[in-house]
Amino acid sequence: MNIGFYLLDVEQTNKKHQVILKCINELYAIRPYDNIVLFNNKFSTVDPDQKYYTLHISEAKYFKGILFVFDIKSAMLTKSFPASKKQILFIDKPEWSEKRDVPYMFWKHIYNHEDFELITANETMEKLCDNCWRKPLSNLKDLNGEQINAVLQKL
């Protein structure tokens, strides 16, 4: 299976990025025969444990596989990608309610996009997503390789 992670501006100081990189390495340990790729535009971090391939984000457009995205900015860029089998949008905060002057249709075209599946970071977000958009594919108790693997098995 081809599994991609789309992550913009990877920073050493960004805790969320560090958790995601750790999660990708754990996923590789679970699925050593799969192609696991990190798409990034800037990689300013040291990952001594790196087991994944890295490619520039421009390569993600024609990536044929499952693509994970972790924020709205990324989802905006990836939603029109023609090749990915499915995109999985990770939601850990209600971005729509933090930017309430953005048109509803902008959010709808992402959260209700038929190529996206939603996964949430906690039970509150799961309920909120179900209330506002649609039922998420999965709620992760923790962002780690095992949980991501469980999401992949649900597809």
Partner: protein, 258 residues
């Protein structure tokens, strides 16, 4: 003899719809030349070069320029003023009542203007609201009030999501809630409404639009309880006559042709 109609573009939905149907009608008529543009700071030039017989302008675009134009030319040119917003200054009401300007009045503005040539209460743009068969999402849409105090008083839902109550809100960024999904444009409202299973419209502005999309329109009365919705407004009987197209064709066009 060919007549020239000058129509000023405007930002309000009412003006846009009325202008659209005027353009649609007179644009195909060889007896009329239609000038459609944003005429701010170009009105006098357009008057000198194109000699309009009729000028259509919206109050929401009212400036000193159109005011002066009315003073100078309202006896020579048929000036039609669309009252699409509330007039705050009483001296403008007095001025318009004493002038020769022809008024189209939105009654919701509650402006006390004498002898309008046409008036309306609720109209909708039927070309945007038609999708009655779309699959619904079992959610209720709250169209927020422009007055946020009213939102806070009416929508008494917990701010913490402890259960899925399938309600979302749009239309006022001031309403601080995780179920507030942003703002909307009127042109997109048809597409938005046709997703939902019921609508709570706090300002009572979009009843016709909801009916056109076949969406139950929740009654907001003294017994209104957002957690237990049981009462809906009945359909308006003559909805086909409540469109901008019908209004323009039956009230404004005959007057211009007179």
């Amino acid at each position: 003899m060919t007549k020239t109609i000058l129509i000023n573009d405007a930002k309000s939905n009412a003006a846009k719809s009325i202008n659209k149907y005027l353009l649609e009608h007179f644009g195909q008529d060889s007896d009329y030349v239609v000038l459609f543009n944003v005429f701010h700071q170009k009105l006098y030039q357009a008057h000198q070069t194109k000699k309009p017989n009729i000028v259509v302008w919206a109050l929401s675009e009212y400036t000193q320029e159109i005011h002066d134009y009315i003073v100078e030319f309202s006896s020579l040119v048929k000036i039609i003023l669309l009252i699409d917003t509330t007039i705050i200054q009483p001296d403008i009401i007095q001025f318009l009542n004493q002038s020769n300007v022809k008024i189209i009045l939105d009654k919701k503005t509650k402006s006390k203007l004498n002898n309008p040539i046409a008036e309306y209460d609720q109209l909708y743009e039927d070309s945007l609201f038609f999708d009655q068969k779309k699959e619904r999402n079992n959610k209720t849409l709250i169209l927020l009030s422009k007055n946020n105090t009213k939102n806070l008083e009416t929508i008494k839902l917990p701010t913490e999501i402890k259960e899925v109550y399938n309600m979302v809100a749009i239309g006022n960024p001031e309403y601080d809630s995780p179920i507030n999904l942003g703002v909307f444009h009127y042109a997109e409202l048809g597409e938005i409404l046709s997703d939902f299973s019921a609508v709570i419209d706090l300002d009572n502005e979009y009843r016709l639009e909801c009916q056109a999309c076949s969406i139950p329109y929740v009654r907001i009365d003294d017994d209104f309880d957002i957690s237990n919705i049981s009462s809906f407004e009945p359909d308006v009987d003559n909805i086909n006559e409540c469109t901008y197209k019908y209004f323009v064709n039956n009230n404004i066009i005959p007057f211009i042709r007179k």
